[in-house]
Amino acid sequence: MTAAGDIITPDAGASSKTMARRTWRWLQPAMLIAAGGFVLYGMRPDNFALRVMTLIAVYAVASVGMNVLVGFTGAVSIMNAAFLGIGGYSWARLADGPGAIAALGAGIGISLCIALAVGVLVLRLERFYFAVGTLALGTLATLTMRKWNGVTGGDAGMIGVRAIGVPSASRIESVFIVAVLALALFSYIQESMRHSALGKSMLVCRHDQAAGAGLGISVRASRLAAFAFSAVTGSIAGALVVQLAGSAFPEQFDVGTSISLIVIPIVGGRGWRWAPIAGAIVVIGGPEYFRFLAEYRLVAYGVLVTGLALFAPGGLREIAHLLVTGFRRIRPGRVR
C-alpha cells in the first residue's frame, strides 16, 4: 500500500483487495504516460517534434495543478504563470551555484509561501472576485519580473540557463525525460487525491458549498490546498520551461501564459484525469504545428476557447463522449 493510500480515511475498513484495485487505477495514467513517453522517445523523433512534445509535457505538468484547482474546486485563477516564473527564475539563478535540488526547492518553497499568502487573502472571495484578483496579481507579477533587474535581469532576461543532465542525452532529451517523469508522478497524485478525503471535499465544495459546509468541510482549506498544489506543479513546470528554452524572459510568464494554463484543463474537460495532457496537446502543441497560419492561429485559438466554453463546457471529454454515444444522449447544460 502506498503512502497516498494511507491518507485515505473515508473507508479505512476497505479490504486490502479493494485498496490494491484502487491503487492500480490510480497508477494507470502514470504508467501510460511513462510508457508513452518511452515509446515516443524510442521512435527517435526529430528535434522539432521532440521540442513540441517536451513543451506539451511541461505545460501538462503545470496543468495538473490547474486541473485540480479548476476541476475539483471550481476556482478560476489567472495568475499561475507567476508560479512558473518563480520556479523558472529560481532555477535560472540557483542551478549553477547551489545546485539543482536547491534551485527546485527554492522555487517550490517561494511559490508555496506566495500561494498560501494569496490564498488566505484572496481565495476567500467568491468566483469572479477571485478571478479578477488573480488577474491583478498576474499583472503585478509580470511587472515585477520586468522591473526587478537585480534578480530577473529585467526585460533583457537571463540567458545560458543550465539544464538538468541526464547521462548520454542531449539538452532537449534530458528535459523531455524529466518532464514525462514529473507528469507521471503528478498524474498519480492527481488520481489518488481525487479519491482521498481532501479531493472529495474539494469536489463537494465545487458543486454545493452549502452541503460541504453542512458536512463540516472547510471550503477555504480545501481550496487553499488545491491552490498550493497548483503553485507546486507550476513552479516545477517553470523550472522545466527555462531549461528547455535555455533562457528566462518575462514574456514566458505573462498573463497570456496564465490564460493558456487555465484554458488547458477546460479544453481537456476539467476534472478529467486526462484533461491536462489532452488540453496541452491542443493548446500548446496545436499552435506549434500551425505556424504557417501565423496570426490566424490565435484567432482560431480564441474561437476554440469561446466555442468550447459556450457549447461544450465539458471540453474534449464531452466531445469524445458525444462521438462515442453517437449524439444520441445529448443533455443540454450537462456539467461535468
Partner: protein, 293 residues
C-alpha cells in the same frame, strides 16, 4: 500648487476613461452575471475603427459613430452567443467567463490582423487648445473626457431608469430567477447588456485614443484598469464605477508625476487587490453583495 492641480486635472481626465471602461463591465455584470474579460478589447476595437475612419480623411464624429456602430454590432453578436448557454437549465458560469477570455484572444488577434500592429493615435477635435494653470498647460481634451464620461453616465442612467428595456434589465439584475418567472426574455436582456457594454467601450476607446497610443495589445492594461475601477465601486454600482475610475486615474497621474512610470503601472492592480482584500463589496457596496467562503 499649480503642479498638483495640473496632475489632478490630468488624472481626472484619464480617470473618466477608466470610469467608462468600468461602466461597461458593471452594466454587463449586473445584466447577466458575466465578468467580461474582453472589455478592454472592445475599447481597442472601437478606437482602431475610429482611427481608420479618421485616417481616411473623415471627421472625428464619423469616427466615433463608426466605432460605436461596429462595437455595438459585435456586442449584439456576442450577446446572442453568450445567451445560448445561459438559457439552459444548468450552466457553469465559471466556464462562461472563460469564454470571454476566448473572446478577448479572438478580438486582439483579429484587431492585429485587420488594423495591423502599428500603434494608432486619434487626433482630438480640441487639439491645440489648452487650459492654462500658471505655467502648466492642460490640453482641452482632458476636460472633454470628463464631460463625455458624465454624458455617457447620464445616458446609461436614463436608459436604466426611464425606459422599459432598462427596467427589465434592472429586474434581471435584481433576481434572474424572478425576472425569468415573470416572463422577461433572458436572451434579449443579455444581448442588450452586451450592446450597452460594447457602445460604452467604443466611446471610452475613442476618447482615450487621443491621450495614449492604442495598439491591439493595449487591451490588457485598459481591461485591468477598467476592472480595478469597477471593483473599487463594488462591481455592481455604476456610480461606484465613476468614483473608482476617477480615484485610479488621479492616483496614476500623481504617481507618474511624483514617483515613476513603474509605480504608475502598479497602481491599478494594487488598488484592485487592496480593495478586494479590505472591502470586497467595494467602497460603496453593501456587505451582502459579496459572499465569501
Amino acid at each position: 500648487m499649480n503642479q498638483l492641480l495640473y496632475f489632478l486635472l490630468i488624472g481626472i481626465g484619464i480617470g473618466a476613461v477608466y470610469s467608462l471602461g468600468a461602466l461597461g463591465v458593471v452594466t454587463l455584470f449586473t445584466g447577466s452575471g458575466i465578468v467580461n474579460f474582453a472589455q478592454g478589447d472592445l475599447m481597442v476595437l472601437g478606437a482602431l475603427c475610429a482611427a481608420t475612419v479618421l485616417n481616411a480623411g473623415h471627421g472625428y464624429l464619423w469616427g466615433m459613430v463608426v466605432g460605436v456602430l461596429v462595437t455595438g454590432v459585435v456586442g449584439a453578436v456576442l450577446g446572442g452567443m453568450f445567451a445560448i448557454p445561459l438559457t439552459r437549465a444548468r450552466y457553469d458560469i465559471d466556464v462562461v467567463v472563460i469564454g470571454t477570455l476566448g473572446v478577448s484572444i479572438t478580438i486582439t488577434s483579429l484587431n492585429a490582423l485587420v488594423f495591423g500592429d502599428r500603434p494608432e493615435r486619434i487626433a482630438s477635435p480640441l487639439a491645440g487648445r489648452f487650459l492654462s494653470i500658471g505655467q502648466f498647460k492642460v490640453p482641452m481634451h482632458y476636460p472633454l473626457l470628463l464631460a463625455v464620461a458624465v454624458l455617457v453616465f447620464l445616458t446609461v442612467r436614463w436608459l436604466y431608469r426611464h425606459t422599459d428595456l432598462g427596467i427589465l434589465l434592472r429586474a434581471t439584475a435584481a433576481s434572474t430567477q424572478t425576472a425569468k418567472d415573470s416572463g422577461v426574455r433572458m436572451a434579449v436582456m443579455l444581448a442588450a447588456s452586451w450592446v450597452v457594454a460594447g457602445v460604452v467601450a467604443a466611446v471610452a476607446g475613442v476618447m482615450v485614443g487621443s491621450i495614449v497610443v492604442i495598439s491591439p495589445h493595449s487591451s490588457l492594461t485598459l481591461g485591468v484598469n477598467g476592472f480595478a475601477a469597477a471593483i473599487v465601486g463594488g462591481l455592481a454600482s455604476p456610480f461606484g464605477a465613476i468614483i473608482g475610475g476617477l480615484t485610479i486615474g488621479v492616483a496614476e497621474s500623481l504617481s507618474s508625476g511624483y514617483l515613476s512610470d513603474t509605480a504608475r503601472q502598479a497602481i491599478a492592480p494594487t488598488v484592485l487587490l487592496v480593495v478586494l482584500m479590505l472591502r470586497p463589496q467595494g467602497l460603496l457596496g453593501s456587505r451582502s453583495s459579496v459572499r465569501t467562503v
